[in-house]
């Protein structure tokens, strides 16, 4: 169980950020020193449309407590339409995950532009709080190769 010394639950959160908007938004959050918990680890993808559902399943299988996908705002996708595909794909995936016990609150799609450092930070803070309130992800645990 990922706890710190004082017994506080520290979730493991994977964030997929598109290179053009959200990753840049995360950079801006950084250069603006807008903090969010270290529990969030970002993986850079060219576009939110690149995120394969398998990546999310894999993350949960490996012990992630929450997965968030960030892309450009609707209409602003660097590749025109990738974020729309992501949204459609993820809506389906999330409802399926919910069905098998990975609650809807553990998954999220958010639009963050390159200029929205503050939004990125706020979103991550909020998401971490949400995951903390949901506690450790125990579903998909049987798939995990853990001792």
């Amino acid at each position: 169980m990922p706890m710190t010394e004082n017994g506080e639950f520290r979730p493991l959160i994977v964030a997929f950020c598109c290179n053009w908007c959200s990753y840049a938004g995360a950079d801006l959050a950084g250069s603006s020193r807008l903090s969010y918990p270290a529990d969030v680890k970002i993986i850079r993808v060219p576009c939110s449309g690149r995120v394969n559902p398998m990546f999310i399943l894999r993350a949960f299988e490996r012990g992630a407590d929450g997965v968030i996908i960030c892309g450009c705002h609707p209409g602003d996708c660097h590749y025109t339409s990738g974020n729309y595909f992501a949204r459609r794909r993820m809506t389906l995936l999330f409802s399926m995950l919910d069905y098998i016990g990975v609650e809807n609150g553990r998954t999220r799609v958010e639009w963050v532009s390159a200029a929205e450092g503050a939004k990125f930070s706020a979103t991550m803070n909020e998401f971490v709080e949400k995951i903390k309130s949901l506690g450790e992800n125990v579903r998909l645990g049987d798939l995990r190769c853990k001792d």
């Binding site: 493991l12 970002i42 060219p46």
Partner: protein, 662 residues
């Protein structure tokens, strides 16, 4: 197995103050494939890069991980460095331990732990990297400038002077933009059209420049070096080549009640019109919405009086398609609508006006022929009140969050010009702050106070109340005196916030250029690449990027031109090798990938597929790498897992997930 070198940057104290870099070095040594790890205060420095190059050579590295700032900052630097040392540049990955770690976390232990995890993810990825070769694409040596205001004009001239062809697309019937509406300009009080018209003439006569007025960009495809653009040329109803610009049609047109946009609707114009006397081209258009011929089929006066036979009611909108190597966005601004600010009675009194309306009133070619007068009764005002920051610096639902930047200066200009020409007029300015950063700007504002005795009051106005006698009662506060002030005015001038041209969203979407929540286009880097969009080949000129005055706009327009010239001067561009790739063994030719590809880069062909136990001819996907931009939409859509993206492959991304979730 790769031989990976890990290089951890201190970035001075930017990283090292929160991340224990020595510990990171120590811990990553044990990661699979890592044969070398070191830290250095500034990895991006010459010495730092040398260390990477030396390690590549001495340790025969096949992969490099740099733990430093964002890859958006220095990925290219480190990849170049590796390439020079003989390593394929795509064998380098950056772990972002500054923007995503040291700058946002305070606890050293926690930040160090996270930095190690981010490094591990990058190492895991590099373990699966393969050398990639960038292709080449040709550059079309022609630029498109969208918007024909001072920004677009200056950019076009500068590009054309370097010897490249430029097209300007302008939505309205004439180039000139906002600057053509201004009377005088700060801080030297030059007459705006006197300095603008020569430039307008220069663009219109330059052999390298083509102007499409009354035209809009309709469709954009392609990519840097090779954009294809559809331009819609709206039917002007007047033949550009035949018209002599004599102006008789405008005089004789019986429909004279059309609100005059150029004069901010303070007066009216004819249905066939040129927006202003110095218009370029000096050829009128027929406003079909208001023209009697188009509305009722009965009139035809303009055609009858036209000696040149230039009027053509049958003209149709036309779409032309051109190819460009670079596109500059210079779509400018408008002022916000003031209907949500009726405490200032803008919609209730014709004597409450915007600063842009005042420009037209003070302009000799404006609705009052340059006489300062009230629009209600055409009497000269005695007392004028200027209100600053109307809709700027707002955190509420009504206005804009930013400072519009130009208002303090143009208000000082207006106040000064009025006091100079009409010394009897009392001028009061309600301000929150007077912001005058700029060469000779504060001196200019001080002149308004010291020489012209303009009454600057620190405070805002709460309400403007029109009185039965036609005057305006202004209720404001003087914060220095801590008193509420109620004063009579004959005219109130509102410094309305500026906002990007409302068309910009549509244009940004066509260009896939990033745009911020205020509808300003985003720069590739706020400080170091301020005239480039993150989308390669798209450049920003003028207020489309953020609020600017004329001197700044002209500088930025020139800077954008230089970037365009730098691009057009190249014969070939390196293409992104991170393109999609189909594993024909797994592909069943279902077409799902082609349906999601925004670039039409995927085609199908019958191909012989050979593998263990398989030898057949079947339909499989083919990626045209010249068209593929590497978004990866196909990879997510592919039901059989045949599509993968080089540089961001399924296995690479999953290995990152695994490294993080360990």
């Amino acid at each position: 197995m790769q031989r990976i070198g890990v290089f951890v940057c201190h970035c001075g104290t930017n990283i090292a103050a929160t991340v224990d870099v020595k510990k990171v070095v120590e811990l990553v040594r044990f990661e699979p494939g890592v044969v070398h790890a070191e830290d250095y205060p500034y990895m991006c420095s010459e010495v730092g890069q040398q260390k990477i190059a030396e390690a590549i050579k001495e340790k025969q590295l096949t992969g490099v991980v740099v733990c430093s700032c964002s890859p958006r900052m220095h990925e290219a630097t480190f990849r170049n460095c590796a390439e020079k040392a003989g390593l394929n540049p795509y064998m380098v990955e950056v772990a972002n331990i500054r923007e995503h770690c040291s700058w946002i976390h305070k606890d050293m232990e926690e930040a160090t732990k996270k930095a190690v995890i981010l490094a591990r993810a990058a190492i895991a990825k590099v373990n699966l990297n393969t050398p990639l070769q960038a292709g080449e694409s040709p550059v079309v040596k022609r630029a498109l400038v969208i918007g024909g205001g001072i920004a677009g004009i200056q950019t076009a001239i500068d590009i054309a002077e370097a010897g490249y062809k430029v097209d300007i697309v302008e939505k309205t019937p004439s180039i000139g933009g906002r600057m053509s509406q201004l009377d005088k300009t700060f801080p030297t009080l030059d007459c705006s059209s006197c300095i603008l018209t020569p430039k307008m003439v220069e663009v219109s006569t330059h052999p390298n420049i083509t102007i499409h007025t009354y035209s809009e960009v309709d469709k954009v495809s392609g990519f840097v070096g090779n954009f294809t653009v559809d331009i819609k040329k709206k039917a002007r109803s007047v033949d550009l080549d035949k018209c002599t610009g004599c102006g008789v049609c405008q005089q004789k047109c019986p429909m004279k009640k059309v609100p005059n946009e150029f004069n901010r609707e303070l007066n009216t114009r004819s249905a066939i019109y040129t927006p202003f006397a110095q218009a370029v081209p000096n050829v009128p258009v027929i406003d079909r919405e208001h023209c009697l011929m188009f509305k009722t089929g009965k009139c035809g006066v303009c055609s009858k009086v036209c000696q040149a036979g230039a009027v053509d009611y049958e003209q149709q909108d036309e779409i032309i398609t051109e190819k460009y190597g670079a596109i500059v966005v210079a779509t400018g601004f408008d002022i916000i609508k003031l209907d949500k600010y009726d405490e200032y009675a803008y919609s209730q009194s014709p004597d409450v006006i915007t600063s842009l309306e005042l420009e037209r009133i003070m302009n000799a070619a404006g609705p009052t022929n340059g006489h300062l007068e009230r629009m209600s009764d055409h009497k000269p005002p005695k007392n004028m009140v200027f209100i600053q920051c109307v809709g700027s610096r707002c955190a509420d639902h009504r206005g804009k969050s930013y400072c519009s930047k130009i208002c303090c200066m143009y208000t000082a200009k207006h106040a000064m010009l009025i006091r100079d020409k009409y010394p009897d007029v009392n001028v009061t300015v309600f301000y929150i702050d007077v912001r005058t950063p700029g060469k000779n700007f504060d001196e200019f504002y001080r002149r308004a106070v010291e020489q012209y005795h303009v009454n600057y009051i620190k405070g805002q106005v709460g309400k403007v109340a029109p009185q039965p006698d036609g005057s305006l009662l202004v209720q404001g506060v003087d914060l220095i005196d801590n008193k509420q002030i109620v004063m009579n005015a004959d005219m109130v001038v509102l410094a309305a916030a500026i906002e990007p041209n409302p068309d910009i969203r549509k244009i940004a979407t066509m260009l896939t250029a990033s745009i911020d929540t205020n509808n300003f286009l985003t720069e590739a880097h706020a400080k170091l690449r301020p005239v480039e969009s993150p989308t390669a080949g798209i450049f920003l000129s003028g207020v489309t990027q953020g609020p600017k005055d004329i001197p700044e706009t002209v500088s930025q327009a020139g800077a954008a031109a230089v970037k365009v010239i730098g691009l057009l001067a190249k014969d070939k561009l390196k293409t992104n090798p991170c393109t999609a790739k189909c594993d024909v063994m797994m592909c069943n030719g279902c077409s799902t990938c082609a349906n999601v590809c925004p670039y039409g880069a995927i085609t199908y062909e019958d191909q012989e597929v050979r593998g263990p136990g398989v030898r057949e001819v079947r339909r499989v996907a083919q990626v045209n790498v010249a068209l593929c931009q590497g978004c990866g939409a196909c990879t997510g859509a592919c039901p059989s897992g045949a599509m993968d993206l080089q540089g961001f492959s399924n296995r690479q991304l999953i290995s990152e997930v695994d490294a993080i979730c360990r």
